[in-house]
């Protein structure tokens, strides 16, 4: 069984962001980077499928500058077999259709049985790439999956809807699945597996080899929203902050009466 997992490297959301000089994205300097949270569930699911069926081969793919190799290595240490780095220094200006176009172009002749993505990226958050890959490759695609089971070449999945309701759906393979938070418990790479990952194959593909589609949109301007204001900010020693907070709650609410 051949599995493809698509992962994105994103900045830590607690970072102090700055707007880049061209005002089209955030400044990517001086940020801590990690694997998109949703994609950790996708990697874990691929590894769980491999553990289930035994005979499986997992390719993990990421598009971006050289530093995304660090995130690919984490996925290799979690249990993927091979990394594919689509080297693209302009990744932050690519829109979801171009990202999906590159993934589909890479995957087209490789007969993957299962393609896993996150349901959305934490920075861009379009939630489009996985479904677009399915459409471009004319495969069934199921999004926002929180439960996954594979038996006799058939997937039975639970899609998360609003209010905690789930839809049970089924499809045959090959298929594309986008993974939602809570699908599984992503493992931490162990030291021996981190060492082993260093020896795994990591292929680099040039962006020109796979980028065959034009952008259909672009960012006009990135900016900080105006603070809606109002909120009071308390800072200082815990004892002092606690006292001020309790005083405010006594004045403004009835809960400490």
């Amino acid at each position: 069984m051949k599995i493809l997992v698509c992962i994105k490297q994103v900045p830590d959301m607690e970072s102090k962001f700055k707007v880049a000089a061209d005002s089209r994205w955030y400044d990517t300097a001086d940020l801590a980077w990690r694997m998109n949270e949703y994609d950790e569930f996708a990697v874990e699911q691929a590894v769980l499928v491999k553990e289930q069926v035994g005979d499986a081969d997992i390719t993990v793919l990421s598009i971006g500058p050289d530093k995304v190799k660090e995130t690919i290595k984490k996925a290799l240490a979690m249990g993927c077999d091979r990394g594919v780095h689509i080297a693209d220094d302009e990744v932050s200006s690519r829109e979801p259709f171009q990202i999906a176009g590159m993934i589909a172009e890479y995957a087209r002749d490789k007969n993957f049985d299962l393609i896993l993505t996150g349901m959305q990226s934490q920075d861009r958050g379009s939630g489009q790439v996985g479904i677009l890959v399915a459409e471009l490759l004319d495969l069934p695609g199921v999004s926002t999956v929180v439960a996954f089971s594979l038996a006799d070449g058939r997937l039975e999945l639970r899609r998360e809807l609003e209010g905690g309701v789930k839809a049970r759906v089924a499809t045959g393979l090959p298929a594309v699945v986008t993974c939602q938070l809570g699908l599984n418990n992503p493992r931490y790479p162990t030291l021996p597996n981190i060492m082993k990952a260093k020896k795994k194959e990591l292929i680099t593909v040039g962006v020109a080899d796979v980028l065959k589609v034009e952008a259909r949109q672009q960012t006009a301007k990135l900016y900080f929203p105006e603070k809606k204001g109002g909120g009071l900010i308390l800072e200082g020693e815990p004892a002092e902050v606690a006292d001020r907070l309790i005083t405010i709650l006594k004045e403004k609410t009835a809960v400490l009466a």
Binding site: L132, V142, L181, Q218, K227, L245
Partner: protein, 305 residues
């Protein structure tokens, strides 16, 4: 400008997201029509032309079937924008329709300024405006961003939509939300734990603070997903919606899906090490502090007094 609003219908009912769609139509001042795979027995409150595909015939959501039906309606309406709610229905169907039409898709639109669509970036810390390069676009709207329009009372004029189609994805049934023993909606004070609590042991800190106020404790999704708290305590779009007299968010960043479940609380306090955390946008008081240091002191002072 002409827009086609894609309403949602599930298990016999039109969903509330319709108010976002109508709100967007009102804000843009566009001519509009609506599409729904639904039933004549439960029509949306909408005074315009409704392109109706019969839910009895086509069943609950299956992506390829709904895509073909919607494309048939689009072919008749020829809209400049196809508008969805950014929901499990919208974010699944919108990219398929955009792909089929060769159009740009703009996700989770929160504002419309001078004819330009605005979307959030990085958990709403940043925003960006989008320039569309295709002749028309498909958009999804963030829940609540355009809502609040008066419900319409007139009945729609119906246009039927029908296609021959199948899907490789089968719909097997719905599974109800997990029923839990804890009814957060009764609590006057809710103290919620977010990922910022760092480790499962710290749940007791949050529970103790809740107890000091005579309230209950809740949690954000990652805390529930990690099984540090039961699902019945989850606040947000896929958990409970609460509106207590006091809500204290401890180590919660303030993602839209969490805010949707608690922003109607009377008074909101956030305890967060990140001064720029989006929770600050809805908090009456933001204590910029390490919760593991502040919460024990708070408990001590509250129980002493």
């Amino acid at each position: 400008m002409k827009v086609l609003l894609v309403a949602e219908y599930r298990d016999g009912k039109v969903l509330g997201s319709i108010s976002d769609l109508l709100g967007f139509a009102a804000r843009t001042g566009a001519d509009h029509a609506m599409f729904v795979v639904g039933s004549e027995a439960a029509l949306p409150a909408y005074g315009g032309t409704l392109y109706l595909a019969d839910a009895e015939t086509y069943g609950e959501y299956r992506p390829a079937v709904h895509k073909q039906l919607l494309l048939a309606a689009i072919d008749k309406v020829k809209p400049d924008l196809v508008v969805f709610s950014h929901s499990s229905y919208g974010w699944d169907l919108a990219p398929r329709v955009a792909c089929a039409l060769g159009l740009a898709q703009v996700s989770e639109v929160v504002d419309y300024v001078d004819g330009t669509l605005v979307v959030p970036v990085c958990n709403a810390k940043l925003r960006r405006t989008v320039e569309i390069k295709t002749g028309g676009a498909v958009v999804t709207l963030q829940a609540g961003a355009f809502g609040g329009s008066e419900p319409e009372t007139a009945a729609p004029s119906l246009e039927r939509v029908a296609v021959e189609t199948t899907d490789r994805v089968e719909f097997l049934g719905y599974e109800a939300a997990e029923a839990g023993g804890i009814d957060l909606s009764k609590a006057e004070v809710i103290v919620s734990a977010g990922r910022g609590i760092g480790k499962p042991e710290n749940i007791s800190l949050i529970a103790d603070l809740a107890k000091a106020f005579g309230g209950e404790y809740g949690a954000s999704r990652p805390v529930v997903d990690a099984e540090w708290a039961e699902h019945a305590r989850q606040v947000g779009t896929t958990g409970q919606s609460v509106a207590p007299k006091l809500y204290i968010a401890c180590g919660i960043s303030g993602a839209i899906q969490h805010l949707a479940g608690m922003k109607k609380s009377d008074f909101i306090v956030a305890i967060n090490t990140d001064r720029d955390a989006p929770i600050g946008d809805v908090a009456d008081v933001l204590a910029v502090a390490d919760l593991t240091k502040l919460v024990p002191v708070l408990i001590e002072k509250l129980t002493a007094s």
